[in-house]
Symmetry: C2
Amino acid sequence: MKETPQQAVLRKLFDRIETLGTISSDTPGLTRVFLSKEMDIASRLIQSWMSNAGLIASVDRMQNVVGSWPAETAHPPAIHIGSHYDTVINAGKYDGPLGVLLSIAAVETLRLEGYEPKHPINVAAFCDEEGVRFRSTFLGSSFFCGTFDTRFLDNVDDAGNSMRSLLELRGFDTSSFNQGTPLIGKDDLFLEAHIEQGPILERLNLSLGVVSGIAAQTRIHVTITGESGHAGTTPLDLRRDALTTAAEMILAVEASFADNPNARATVGQIKNYPNATNAIPGEVEFMIDLRNPVTAGLNQMRDTLLNKLDEIAARRTTEFKAEILQTVDSITCDSNVQQALSKALAKHQERVTTFTSGAGHDALKIAQTCRTGMMFVRCRNGLSHHPDEYCSPKDIEVALAAWVDTLRELDQNFPTPEKANA
Amino acid sequence: MKETPQQAVLRKLFDRIETLGTISSDTPGLTRVFLSKEMDIASRLIQSWMSNAGLIASVDRMQNVVGSWPAETAHPPAIHIGSHYDTVINAGKYDGPLGVLLSIAAVETLRLEGYEPKHPINVAAFCDEEGVRFRSTFLGSSFFCGTFDTRFLDNVDDAGNSMRSLLELRGFDTSSFNQGTPLIGKDDLFLEAHIEQGPILERLNLSLGVVSGIAAQTRIHVTITGESGHAGTTPLDLRRDALTTAAEMILAVEASFADNPNARATVGQIKNYPNATNAIPGEVEFMIDLRNPVTAGLNQMRDTLLNKLDEIAARRTTEFKAEILQTVDSITCDSNVQQALSKALAKHQERVTTFTSGAGHDALKIAQTCRTGMMFVRCRNGLSHHPDEYCSPKDIEVALAAWVDTLRELDQNFPTPEKANA
């Protein structure tokens, strides 16, 4: 039986997920970080798929890829849909790319129908949401909104390269960053589809969910300075071991959310110096990732934890420095967009559930600029940031159908802004 | 006033310590690891200094440098003196090189006197005592004794290079390793001078000390396997965090010697995967360094600790693997050599103290082959394996005088072996 055009869209979506999942700087595993050669390869693939879908593809200075629907009938405000295409280290292939590729496939589907959009529609693939390389997230979506903080240009990666130097090697004048007109304006809408990265949809036996908002999050860079020395001679009372201090702090971070099932606290990254078997560690750096459904809860949790860490360092006569790198307030997704999503999802599954995201997403950053909405797709065992991350083909098929319906609905009935324009 | 030849020997000794202290693969700090370019540079410098001192210098396949006193009057057994010239990461300039350079200066001094040795005298500079690169110590001195374990040839450094591949790149046939006649035989003596790397001599206000023996030591490589996942979503009850498990274990290692002032237990090296801020750590590796004055005490301490770590891993539902990489039994220095050292030291300071070394040294390995003895030189604050490691010029001057006296005494009155030859 011959493949229908609709079936071909779905097959290409599955193929593209697999293809992007092979573009990695490490094997085995999937690792694709900002301003890498692998991101350039992925960028060219995404541009070619956008072109095949009838979009006009381009890439901006930050490696963001944008595909614009060339519709003569369309009038602002615009609808932007998409997600990011960078990954964490040793990642899965759905976190980010699924939202980008679903959005391309949604446009392909609508174009097959001969749909003529009323509003400009852009598919976005953001260059850095995870913040692996420069320890700062949402670089792509903030640039897209004109809210990119140019101080981050001087962040330095593990190899000692600043973001600025890498961008300038690519021929860009970093002094003029953020001076153009951003693609996303305050009257626009941004819609993101993403894997859930948590266990809720699986527990409820649902393919899709509507996101009501995104938890507040902060990242804290901790430096502990003790004193290195010979492991075989230095007695315990003369030691100022930075790693045993860090160990006690890591357990305090874990304990900080034991009584709050909606909060999260994680030490994911650690560096130890000099990191030699027979030398007492003289300095340790680690990163704390904190999440809380509301900003006030996050702030309280952070202050309590930092006081506790300060006590530990003082008791162990090590120096303790905590730098709050980034704090993002919690957001609420636009109620009209939530309604449109609920209506679309109800067509494709028995029930609709709406919940807060513990994970941060580009929509969190973009909500500072315009109204946003998000759809979650179930993932196996709630597992993400791991090579075993998995979404079933059936769930992806349902997600595409709902995503097409959502995009059509919002384009046809573009919601009136909740606040009057200035 | 013109410099005397004796003053020139001392000045050259100080200059050489400074010069070797600049040959580093990293700046700032001093790092010189096995089979590196910097070790080749240091090797050539040491050979030239040996030649200037009237020694016949050569370098073996392992990068060990040997300077032989060309004395026609000398008859076996031989006396070997020296230490190592590799360093830890971010090291001080005295740990190792001081013993090598004191030994070259001792020969220079004796030759100035017109001394004619009764026994062959070799000055040795060993290529790898610290074991930084391939996580296995005493590579140089074991090769020198013919006890090098060729299984270590397949150890791999952080860049993925095996020791074998690096030696073969240098043109050596690694299949024939250990088949020649070793330089050190069972009837010989080995004498090592070294900084104390501990606080005892400073507390007693003495420049030098006699070493009675060296503590037993072992290195254990621990791997903890949990499960990676998204830091923002995974609830505490679903986490199998390898880093919080490691943190609890690191505190258990520290606690394991809190009640034993003569033992030491240290986690100096740790690696975390995937080591990304927003990913729950899925795997952690770390190294435990254990020391105890006697082998039986070490074994008991190790077993108790490993049981404790096993409990922690089980409670946290992570997998735990412990590999004992290397165990070196405690040794006792030869009593005749201790006497000769005590006699020499008594000429240069008010009192003589004798104590066990908590740090391992080449003498520990060489004691498996022949009788050994060690002299310690005071270091500031007991600090070692650190850029601030320091020995005063006055202490070094006293050390040289005592080292010359010890060498002359043992050459004149070569001690009868305590055990009959086979």
